[in-house]
């Protein structure tokens, strides 16, 4: 039972950064913009938050710093992709490389000592219920916040007028512009929001999940988040489920290493990447579902004709 609880809670924790980053990217892609630079924004967010903790700032400020750093990084992409109409694939890749460089540079003085991780909270009374308590009510606040963000974003995209406008822009920026919506401004906001969420994801990794500084500590989680959006066929609930699936994979793999399975640890570590490929293959078979939810203008540069 203890092992089950450990796997269950470990999964929820490992899924948290993926939920943040993938939900952020979902909003970006729903507006018709493809930002491949999640990995870079996460790394910058992770470095900024870690730096803030070392500098003695309180934890909420550190996490906010990570989010803002991610947003600042996303602005670089936004200017290129939205104002200068560059190829979005190239601009996103540039951001991924740049972010990894910046974070490594910021992190050169961080040392290898762990920091005091974000505290878990034991929700009074509820956390004392046997089994249920340790399973659901003893997480750090960010785990709950990620789930809250899922509800907020689902509500925003499908239950508000602003969400409808955002999705319309993702389908047809020309029509939206003709109706009079500020396409470029809304896309900027979406990109910034995606950066904020990727920064949060990075901050969670460096101040709660790991919590120490390792160069390139995201280890592909940004790219996996990107894959999750495709996996989810651009639907929020499936992002949540996908993130838990990948989180579970990570934890099982770690448990396998801890139990000393006769399989080399490197091969176990390769499992999440392998699983990403397999899941992508399965999802891409259903072309109809993909094209139904796929934002039609994704990655196509748009400039309002004046």
């Amino acid at each position: 039972m203890d092992l089950f609880i450990a796997i269950f809670t470990g999964t929820a924790i490992a899924a948290t950064p993926l939920i943040f980053a993938a939900l952020g990217e979902l909003v970006v892609e729903k507006s018709g913009v493809l930002n491949l630079g999640i990995e870079g924004m996460m790394l910058v967010g992770a470095a900024a938050a870690f730096w803030a903790v070392i500098a003695g700032l309180p934890m909420p400020v550190a996490i906010l710093a990570g989010a803002l750093a991610g947003a600042a990084a996303s602005l670089l992409f936004g200017v290129l992709a939205l104002t200068f109409l560059t190829n979005q694939y190239a601009a996103g890749l540039a951001l991924a490389i740049f972010g990894s460089g910046v974070s490594a540079f910021l992190g050169r003085g961080f040392g290898s000592a762990p920091i005091d991780a974000l505290k878990r909270i034991h929700i009074p009374l509820l956390s004392d219920i046997p089994v249920i308590g340790p399973m659901f009510f003893r997480f750090d606040p960010m785990v709950y916040f990620a789930i809250l963000m899922f509800f907020v974003i689902s509500w925003f995209l499908y239950r508000t007028k602003s969400g409808l406008i955002l999705r319309t822009i993702g389908e047809s920026p020309e029509t939206s512009h003709a109706i009079g919506y500020p396409v470029i401004r809304i896309r900027y906001l979406a990109v910034l929001f995606g950066g904020l969420m990727a920064g949060l994801a990075g901050a969670y990794l460096s101040v709660a999940y790991t919590p120490l500084w390792v160069e390139n500590m995201t280890a592909g989680k940004g790219w996996i988040s990107l894959a999750l959006v495709v996996f989810a066929t651009w639907r929020p609930l499936r992002i949540l489920l996908g993130a838990w699936l990948f989180g579970g994979m990570t934890i099982l793999q770690l448990q396998g290493q801890a139990l000393g399975l006769a399989v080399p640890s490197e091969l176990l570590s390769a499992l999440p990447y392998l699983a990403t490929i397999i899941v992508l293959v399965i999802i891409s078979q259903n072309r109809q579902t993909l094209s139904l939810h796929f934002p039609a203008s994704l990655a196509k540069p748009f400039r309002p004709a004046t």
Binding site: L36, L80, N87, L93, I97, R108, A227, Y273, L274, S284
Partner: protein, 355 residues
């Protein structure tokens, strides 16, 4: 006075040439500001970054040594990028090529055989292509996004290499270091001069550049791929199959990266260890873009990128600055390059206040 951005009636030819120069100048300007902000004298730091590395014969040898794999891989990748086939896993294909070549070099029964090096070449190219064939198959037949698959396969390749050098291929006489035994002399490219590290593998890159030029500018397949990239609907209407562009693009990149990995292990490295590439596979993506996906531009882009790698090493050694600066410079350069490209098609036009 107001300025407005407007589309040029025709793309500007002079801007096409000026854009990379402006981008490089802006990168250097931002770099100086960054050095100054960090409390280093910008002039001497820039000198350490861009001049010192190439002011000696050894420096020039290192410049070629690093430019060679970058140019080689960028040529292979550009074939795919022209057709909108996004192989961003060249790093993994390089690693697998190096593993296959090193395996042949270590385990071929006759370590003095003159065919050892050619065999390693074939093994490296074939392994790189095989690694790239997986995403090619998945994209061409099963409609799976190649960006994510090539990238995931890079992580898998890195872990596979780590497993090999920590486990089955670890040199028993290597004091427990995670590395293989050294390759025999017949498995190594001959340096031009034993005082310097640059070796005859640069000729492979020269051949690749010529092949790339012939392919893109002189072959029908190259033309078809360009059409598929620029106008997929027109290409389909003309009967060009998308899947052939996917296969050609990914296999060209895989072969080039695999050969680059082979040349690394049979050249400066001489053995496998967990870290065999300083990110050539990723930097080559930037090189391909700086070179505007054509052969001549890629050569220049590769030399510039190589200088960034060398400069990063030099400022690390001489000034104690982190070598991660290299990646920052790479990113900034690509940002500016992409941004200045905008002005090939658009310009600022001054408009009167009351217009």
């Amino acid at each position: 006075m107001l300025y407005r951005i407007e589309q040029r009636p025709e793309p500007s030819a002079s801007m096409r040439i000026a854009a990379p120069i402006i981008a490089t100048a802006l990168t250097i300007a931002v770099g100086s500001a960054m050095f100054a902000g960090l409390g280093y004298d910008p002039v001497s730091t820039l000198q350490a970054f861009f001049i010192t590395p190439i002011s000696s014969l050894n420096g020039l040898s290192e410049l070629l040594l690093k430019a060679s794999p970058l140019i080689l891989i960028a040529c292979g990748l550009a074939v795919g990028f022209r057709a909108n086939v996004w192989n961003i896993g060249a790093e993994g294909q390089l690693i697998i090529g190096a593993i296959a070549a090193c395996g042949v070099g270590l385990f071929y029964p006759n370590p003095e055989s003159p065919i050892l090096l050619p065999l390693m070449f074939v093994a490296g190219a074939a392994a790189g292509m095989a690694w790239a064939a997986i995403p090619a198959f998945l994209r061409a037949r099963l409609n799976t996004n190649e960006i994510l698959v090539t990238l995931m396969m890079t992580y898998i390749a890195t872990l596979f290499l780590s497993w090999l050098v920590h486990g089955p291929w670890r040199d028993p006489a290597g004091f427990n270091y995670p590395q293989t035994a050294l390759l025999p002399a017949a498995a190594m490219f001959e340096p031009f001069d034993y005082a310097y590290r640059v070796n005859s593998s640069v000729f492979i890159t020269v051949v690749a550049v010529v092949l790339m030029w012939l392919f893109t500018d002189r072959s029908f397949l190259g033309y078809k791929m360009k059409v598929s990239g620029a106008a997929p609907h027109a290409a389909r209407y003309a009967g060009f199959r998308e899947s052939s562009a996917v296969w050609t693009g990914l296999l060209a990149g895989g072969a080039a990266a695999g050969i680059a990995g082979m040349a690394e292990v049979a050249g400066p490295l001489g053995q496998l260890s967990p870290q065999i590439s300083p990110g050539y596979g990723f930097a080559a993506i930037i090189v391909a873009f700086i070179g505007r996906l054509n052969a001549f531009g890629i050569v220049l882009g590769g030399l510039l990128m190589s200088l960034l790698f060398l400069g990063g090493e030099t400022v690390q050694m001489n000034l104690g600055l982190s070598s991660s600066l290299t990646r920052i410079f790479q990113g900034i350069l690509l940002f500016f390059l992409l941004a200045t490209d905008f002005f090939i098609f658009y310009r600022f036009r001054r408009v009167p206040e009351h217009a």
